[in-house]
Assembly symmetry: C2
Homo-oligomer: 614 residues x 2
Amino acid sequence: MSREIRVTFQPSGRSVYVLPGTILLEAAARAGFVIETPCGGSGTCGKCLIRIVSGECTDCTDAEGCLSSEQAADGYRLACQCRIQDTLIVEIPESSLFQAVQKILSSDTGDKLEVDPAVKKRFVEIPEPAHGDSHSDAELLVKALNRGTPTVTTLQQLPETLREADFRATATLCGDRIIRVQAGDTSAASYGIAFDIGTTTIVGTIVDLVTGTDLAVASMMNPQTSFGDDVLSRIKKCREESGGLEVLHTTVVEAVNKVAGDAARQAGIDASDIYMAVFAGNTTMQQILCRIDPRALGELPFLPAFRDMVNLKATDIGLSIYPDAEVVVFPQIGGFVGGDTVAGIIATRLDQQSEPSLLVDVGTNGEIVLSHGGRLTATSVAAGPAFEGARIINGMRAMQGAIEKVVFNSDVEFNVIGNMKPSGICGTGLIDVTAAMLRAGVLDSTGRILGQEEIPPEVPERIRNRIIADNGQFNFVLADGEASATGDRLSLYQKDIRELQLANGAIRAGISILLNRAGLSADDLGSVLLAGAFGNFIRRSNARRIGMLPQISRSKIRFVGNTASFGAKMVLLSKEESSYAARIVEKTEHLDLSTSPEFQMEFGAAMLFPEDDV
Amino acid sequence: MSREIRVTFQPSGRSVYVLPGTILLEAAARAGFVIETPCGGSGTCGKCLIRIVSGECTDCTDAEGCLSSEQAADGYRLACQCRIQDTLIVEIPESSLFQAVQKILSSDTGDKLEVDPAVKKRFVEIPEPAHGDSHSDAELLVKALNRGTPTVTTLQQLPETLREADFRATATLCGDRIIRVQAGDTSAASYGIAFDIGTTTIVGTIVDLVTGTDLAVASMMNPQTSFGDDVLSRIKKCREESGGLEVLHTTVVEAVNKVAGDAARQAGIDASDIYMAVFAGNTTMQQILCRIDPRALGELPFLPAFRDMVNLKATDIGLSIYPDAEVVVFPQIGGFVGGDTVAGIIATRLDQQSEPSLLVDVGTNGEIVLSHGGRLTATSVAAGPAFEGARIINGMRAMQGAIEKVVFNSDVEFNVIGNMKPSGICGTGLIDVTAAMLRAGVLDSTGRILGQEEIPPEVPERIRNRIIADNGQFNFVLADGEASATGDRLSLYQKDIRELQLANGAIRAGISILLNRAGLSADDLGSVLLAGAFGNFIRRSNARRIGMLPQISRSKIRFVGNTASFGAKMVLLSKEESSYAARIVEKTEHLDLSTSPEFQMEFGAAMLFPEDDV
């Protein structure tokens, strides 16, 4: 039933499996590559240039007439225009990657991020002190550097280190603090690590602070999920269990250390050469990381402990990197709108968009930010864990065995992660099947699955037969026992649709209120930027069909990838980005919808699916 | 043989035992009270006013004619004029204490030190945040304080603490860092501790940072003495033993923590309410305290690791006070001239003396500073441990059983610490007996103890009989077996005199070179300030008789007490004193005499005792 095709991307060699007919742009997004699409994939801007190295795609469209004959001869295509037909090898030029990423990764001199990290190494050759010289070791070093104050750790290293290589040494400066001194020239070994600490997943990226390039990425499931899926369950643990905060803090620090260790091994570097770590996460995760009780986040008026960026030392929270390393925890906006959202705003330059724009990060909590005339308003809604596959009877996370994509042809066709029999369905699959059922008329706008005799006659037989009566309601079979990995039938239940409506409605209500308050309609939006690991894999037309996103042109919906990681990397690499993040927090208004009657009304309305697609 | 008299000082109640005829000023110094004597004890300034509460003294001298009849009727005397005859109770008015001490202790508005510590507590009542308030806890606190940035420790305390007492809380600020927040009003509980960390002794004084008053003093022997008496033995341990530094560091930190604990108990306060610690010690002790290898201090060109003040956190070196407490280690001048000397300079305002002045701290290392026309030159000399009683055959430290004072009358009379049979002789006793032997003609200027037939005929019989021939040399009996605590005869040996000459000569040579270089003679000196625990107990005339001090009027020699502790307390209580200490280090020239041929010559000459007293 699943006829997936392998697409391999160069130069990374990363592969994904997709259904035939998938647009290459989407396949790239699945593989984690966010390709530049200022025109929204309409084929008019020509920015999403890629090169087919081997394999076949659909023929060139009219839009691709913009390519030169040399480009065409070399196999260049527009990623937004060509659909996958067969096993492919595709090269993505650096210049086609989304601006935010490109800024970090590219070595072009154009619009790229200036590599100017807070942490820098300097090699110095100090004239050996002669008899009668009454300066101290510290003064000799500071004089050679022309700035700085050594920390006590550096003072402890100083006498032996200076004499080890005849007063030739490398100092590591963090701003004006000299945090390390090493014998000889070690100036090339200067690394940082950017962390996205999500409720569900922890991702760490090691960056070379000299060249600005990514060296390795490692990730793991947040082990705190064993204490509950969402942030509220973590807050509850802190409130109700003595020592609960300590357990959660230790758990996340251990995970962060594992990710750092894995990434360092991959990069072939010593973790003690990591001199800076930047963390972006939601307010609860950031507070738990700092060992700050998050319970006030769960009580009126939902105050975070801090909003300004927090600077600390690695040893303050037990990070296994250089002990005196600078640790930066992202500034946060308020309530549940945390550092990951701030990172998203700076990564996408959301405040600098010329037209009204939305940044939407869909997860257990949905964070939504509206940029409008240079003003930013942010809110968060509790979407619940449906998009993570939880509370869905046959739901599961987006991992091996999950149905992650569904299309209706003459029957239901789906893609399973890992190219195997399915064990369940994850969030993106859930959105796909719901959208497909709505389009086919198998589901009505109130969210009721219709009986076989209620649905339009043109619904193919095989799809019709999947509707099964169950206690006066109807379920929809995705795979029967033979086709499933467990041997049990996999279905989408009426109750599952209700869960999706709750999640969906919360996001949609948040968006509506932000638009209403700004006096905007959906048509005024220049773009909707979908962020986060999940957002990246949502089929835009389906998210719009189920009403999660406003009914605007699909071309305005753009994937922006893991902006929490991108933003964290930007702060790691540039002091200017750090100030930018601080300015964003200052200018962003936080809207608390948790007890708003307006939200309750919008939420009720948004529970209904749109009657028709645009 | 010992006829000591008890003198009790009020308001402290501290007592000392002294020989009859001792000047009250000296008895007060023995008890640790440094009385103001700008005229050098000549009875002309009238500053050393004390009141006899009970007991008898010698009659008023002519100099005391300056007292009013009311003062005389109330029992007021000049401490420099009256000699002790009988058990006394004496009251020392605050105004008579030496300026440096007075500045700290007095509540007068006159010349006193302004209490303006780096650490301050502030109680704030924060309006409880209402729904819709989108500030963080940190912002609410900072707004109420109108300044400051919370440390991560404070952020960790913040959510619970603010809500514990309805947003009424006390913040502890160290400069602009908010290092603690507590529920309710705890602003009165703000303490600091000043440490003198000597090679031999560790003294800690707890000070109330609100009122500026001393609350308790505790001290103990530096347990590092078990690894060697002087700093060179400690440096050797670091150089030759792997882990030697760690052992020494841990040893001193444990001792410091014990002293802090003892002092806190005495003061009746919680050690976790100590928010600042200031340390003054020699360069070796300060580096070991900071866990900085001191071995470069023992090798050419004898560089310390740092000269500027070091600021760290209590947890950086494991101090058992408030974990985020500010720890200040005194700036140091160079070589072996460390923070204790800088503390001595600021405590005595040495650079502000109108006439050329010397500050001399006599110990295993002698530190000498010359102030002349606003310029400061400092040096240190290795006096060796003779003044500590080491390398003297019957020598011992100034503790229970030590002969600490000797006078010659018809026989030898001495004072034993603790009013018991003697077990040995300590440094001050050694100086006394040597001076007395020189005066009596029992010892010649080359340092040779003369035979009974070589000495002047007027030497009393009992003293003459104490000279005993021994292998072609002579020894001098201090106490025979019956009179000693051990049952063994206690003597001063010819070899002991040689050790004293080495110690004495080193100090004297250092002083001579500083004077020579400045083009000064001893007569140009306006004052010689004797600092340190030992300096405080030296009989000035005897120190001058043996040539340790220049041959200047005794009235110019002043005791200034434990200036390391005083200076440390001043930095604890006043930010301005901290800047002053930094300026002193900048302007003080360090003279390294260790390899100076000039020093060798002066040292040779200074080994000889002066022919005559002035």
